[in-house]
Amino acid sequence: MSTDTNSDNLRTALYQTHVDLGARMVPFGGWDMPVQYRGVISEVAAVRADAGIFDVSHMGRLHIGGPNAAGLLDILLTGSASSLRAGRARYCFVCNERGGVIDDTIFYRLADDEFLLIPNAGNRAAVALWFDRQLAHHFDGRGVRITDRTMLTGLIALQGPAAAGVVDRLCEDFAPGARLPRNPGRTPVPSLLRPFAWGRGHIDGRRVFIGRTGYTGEDGFELAMGSSDIAPVWQKLYEAGATPCGLGARDVLRLEAGLPLHGHELTDTITPIEAGQDRFVRRDGGYNGADVLDHQRVYGARRRLVGLTLPGRSAPRAGYDVLADGEAVGVVSSGTYSPTLERCIAMAFVDTAHTAPGTTLTVDIRGRLAEASIVELPFYQRSG
């Protein structure tokens, strides 16, 4: 059972809102966060069928600005910053020299010389420190400002097939960060944003940054705003019918969508190639860890992340052994019962010889041996 929340933990500006909604609060990444409100299964269903709202203010907001910002990010990220247009965002990795993942992140290009980078809650300090240290080795330590605005701002994820309708109804004065496609003469609305594009508008008269990004496998948006504005904006989204969802639902949703979680599928000793994230690693090198990742891409890695499905409801959990013919060939990184698919799903790192889709492996579930089939990721893909 979960440990109690701790007075040393940070609280988001929505803490009291969560408590008033009856959420159960748990410690996560140095913060007290809601793990669930009504229940994980109903919250997952709300996001798959309608719309859910998540307080993700525990994730960081690092602003990287200055004439050398793009140049520094090109060295520190596996995705290109200099080729990203203002108005767009990109998902990629912060790698160490061995190709291990310090963090995964979405970063938005706000202007030619300004970026907003979203590190995971528990990695915010490590990422900021890493960036500071790396800057000292490049550009004579000049031309980049790193500003942590996490405590001044808040972040809400609005996710689900009804998310676009909700945000279009509530948002006023919307202005996209880059010119919208195919929109002659129409008033711009957030739903015209492409995935990984962003804009700005007002909700309830409060200035809101709107990115078409998320972590659930559904269409959706992530909304950043000042700390004092987040409670009223949350209230508007709630009144518009969005269901409050906690970290429990968020973990199930991301797992169903085959999305990695740092600390499970990504760590400082696991590379993005091993984790099957090749498409978020650029091919022209020049970033930290490129030698290792290029080598693994050409010659293969010893282990790879696979998706496993199991009948029944007893789920493989992180750390359980994966076996082939009685021999340990891997370990589960995340697993859960999937209420959407009505079977158990897991991701596991497995010796490359045993990673072909269709292969049957065995998972040791606390002494019970359960048959598991390797399937292509993601487990769940939205239609349309």
């Binding site: 059972m1 229940g39 994980v40 199930v252």
Partner: protein, 129 residues
Amino acid sequence: MNPDDRKYTREHEWALLEPAGAGTVLVGITHYAQDQLGDVVYLELPTVGATVGYLAKMGEIESVKAVSDLYSPVSGAVTEVNGRLAHEPELVNNDPFGEGWMMRVRITDPGELDGLMDAAAYGEYVGQL
């Protein structure tokens, strides 16, 4: 909130002594336990005829988020298992003190119940967690 008619363990199981002479108890988990677990999706319970031990592991309960051990509040022989839970594990969430009962045990030592908490003591115990 916790019914007065039964006894409670520190691991959040309850034992309800059935009407005089039956020599059986019903066993389940508390409202607090189901609330902490969240949506229950699977239970591994002993089979009828199995022997369970006083405060010994008797099964597992799995929610979407986690798996926890279940402990028997009494020692004895299992005479019945709530078969509905195989298809409706959510009964544990919706009615933990009633329809969500888990097993019936023929007790060997009624004195074991004296070692458990009553509703007031359990309520105080949970209040401290």
